[in-house]
């Protein structure tokens, strides 16, 4: 399972990078979303999928899934959500002010092309 997940994570990363390199700002942010999914799954995979039960104490169960990666991912999800929300509003404001979402046009200096 871990090997298969490694391949899937690589695929998510590749897709994320491809999207981040594109011209439209929205696609760049979609790329970052994909990237954070990849990263979260990576943390979970690296923790291993061993264990029988969810990490909640239940009578008669001793073999739990490793809880630490889950705690880390939970933190990461919330943080990436905060950042994504911020980016999205920033993109929204950029649309409003600059009236474009083309990364080629969103450049600081007119001198360069």
């Amino acid at each position: 399972m871990e090997i298969i997940m490694s391949v899937i994570i690589g695929f998510l990363f590749a897709g994320a990078v491809y999207l981040m390199l594109s011209r439209s700002l929205l696609r760049v942010i979609i790329g970052t979303g994909l990237l954070s999914h990849g990263a979260h799954l990576l943390i979970l995979t690296m923790g291993g999928f061993g264990g029988d039960a969810p990490p909640v104490l239940t009578d008669g169960v001793t073999d739990f899934v490793d809880p630490l990666p889950q705690a880390l991912i939970l933190t990461a999800i919330v943080i990436s959500f905060g950042v994504t929300a911020f980016f999205l509003v920033m993109a929204y404001r950029a649309y409003q002010e600059l009236e474009t979402d083309n990364m080629k046009l969103l450049k600081g200096n007119d001198e360069y092309d």
Binding site: I3, F13, I30, G48, L57, I79, F81, G82, A85, L88
Partner: protein
Amino acid sequence: MVSVLLLFAPVAAALFVPMLARRVKAVHTGWFVLAVPLLLFIYYLGYLPSVSDGRTHIAELPWIPSYGISFVSYIDGLSLLFSLLITGIGSLVVLYSIFYLDKTKERLGNFYVYLLMFMTAMLGVVQSDNVISLYLFWELTSISSFLLIGYWYTRDRSRYGALKSMMITVFGGLMMLGGFILLYLMGGTFSIRELIGMAPELVQHPLFTWALVLVLLGAFTKSAQFPFYIWLPDAMEAPTPVSAYLHSATMVKAGLYLVARFTPIFAASELWVWMVTSIGVLTLFWGSFFAVKQTDLKGILAFSTVSQLGLIMSLLGAAAGAFHAEGAAGTIFKFAGFAAIFHLFNHAAFKGSLFMIAGIVDHETGTRDIRKLGGLMALMPVSFTIALIGSLSMAGLPPFGGFLSKELFLTGMLSLRQLDLFAPASWGTILLVAAWIASVFTFIYSLYFVLRTFTGKHKPDELPKQAHEAPAGMLIAPGILAVIVIAVFFIPNVIGKWIVKPAVAAVQPFLFDSPAAVDVHVAAWHGGLTPELTMTIGVVLVGLLLFWLLPKWQGLYGLAPEALSLNKLYDASMYLAEGGANRLSRTYMGGLIRNYLIYMFTGIVIIILGSLVAKDAFAISFEGLSPVGPAEIGLILVLIAAATTTLIARKRLTAIISLGAVGYTVALLFVVFKAPDLALTQLAIETVSVALFLLAFYHLPKMSRHDEKRKFRIGNAIVAGAVGLMMSLLAMSSVSQRALPSISEFYKETVHSEAGGGNIVNVILVDYRGFDTLFEIAVLSIAAIGIIGMIRLRLTRKEDGHEKQ
């Protein structure tokens, strides 16, 4: 202790100068400043008796004791000679500047602050025994010289000259610092005296040659040796008192001081003798040859300074050469060191007076262009007399000090022929011939300087001002220097005993163990036709002939193309460095985020894949893996499908929806992988995120509302594929090579007993690792506040609104 603090006396006095310049308008600020160098001069005179007996004085003020760095005032013959020059000529220059600079038109406060700063720096350079504080003062001379050259900062030429001198001397200063650090690495001490004591061991060290070359670079740039002399002619844009003080008598001699001071360490190296001597002779020749080309009075003097500095440098090389000659103390080798110090003293005297005369001519006629001047002898008799004394001394004629030092110089150069360091042996002769030719040119430009200015036809129409004699006060300082020039001829051995011999003993400790041991007796007439005298007569005869024919061959200088000159080379290299750096950064700093991302991703991929290959770190193992179930396979297929849709979607809406699908599939994967809290959070957050994406999508501007076709870009795809491959390989390797078991056993065992909870993930979040959660809350708050700020705060809009009203 006191003598260390006295180093800082000028700069401390400088603190009061701006106040005096502003408050006391009636008196020229220079009168207050004059007291500082004068008192110091008298103080240093007091050292003469004991130093000429061979005693040295040392005082130390710790600065950074843990690194062995301190301010040291070490007074021996060499540093006392320089200290006297600095304070003595400093006093005269201040006196001269009182009459030269106008009290109302010039910003005197700035001038004297810079000048006093320079004085401290220069005293520090010559008295420092600690190389680090020597370097500190060395750079301070560069900085104060920069400020003084750019004193009239509204002129382009001043700023250009200041920048050029700064670039070149600071380059040399940094090289010198490198040399000092190497010396420290070799000897383990910053003290020059201790390094000199270790000289025999240092010579064996592999870094020795590097230290030698670096220290020499510092000395050559500061003392305007070939090819670094180019800053000195441009430094002539400074006010004339500055040119007289810094660029003839003191600062340019800092390099000579450095060479003299380090001679006891480096003389054992043949490379040192060879480089110092030949660069010195080359500079001597080059400077004297091109001095005749100049049409500006100060330009002539600048090239003459370059040439004379080369002369002293070559003598210092010969003095170091004495280390290699058997029984040098008894032969003519002993003269080289004496000649160097003696000429250094003479040059400071006559060059200072000549600069002051050039300043007087400029001041009283309004021009320094030699083509417009002429026939000033009758109008300015006193200036003419002083100029004549200075020039003839520079040319090396009796009865002036320059004659004696020129004779000694020729003796020193003759001694080089007997030195067997030079292979082929004819090198010594070539140097002697070059030195002789240079003396001829020195003779020519000395006459050229004085005769073209003061004799010939007076051209009053071309002069901006009515020419007349300078005020008496302005003539005092050059007058005193002229008297010294003559006095040196008649009492050379008095000066030799008190000033020169202690310095020679410091430069050549391998020859003489005390000043009294320097058995050089200077005489104007050796009672016969010595080789030196024959050469001098030759110089005068050939020089007179060539000067008479000057108009016939001066056109020769026009032949060398201007584009090949060293100045053009400097300008071109500056332009190339600036323009080249600009073009280089334009090629990769295009302003497009995509390109920067490509640089970053490519860099990461190369580093990580490279280290995977180089360290043979990739491994894959199928042991201990968890089984693959049908639910997982199904979800993974959905995930792949959704992610692919995101990539190939033509409409933004499709991409957003499929990103949502990816998120929900990940949530389901969390369910399958037994992570209930993650699944809940992921579901909730994905929903909010998709809503936000839709909001951003809805507000897209109309102009790009039409969905452009997504072009497939092969470059992007390659980079993306490489990043994906890298992540996959990394993940597989790390899963397959787990080194240590998880620490989670502790959490599982103690979650109830210690923390009193049942949900292990939640207990980790709020109890075991509560700090993470605290700051994650902070992140969310900051994001929320930031979003509110972005939406509410419309500063640009407000400004626009005001403009419209």
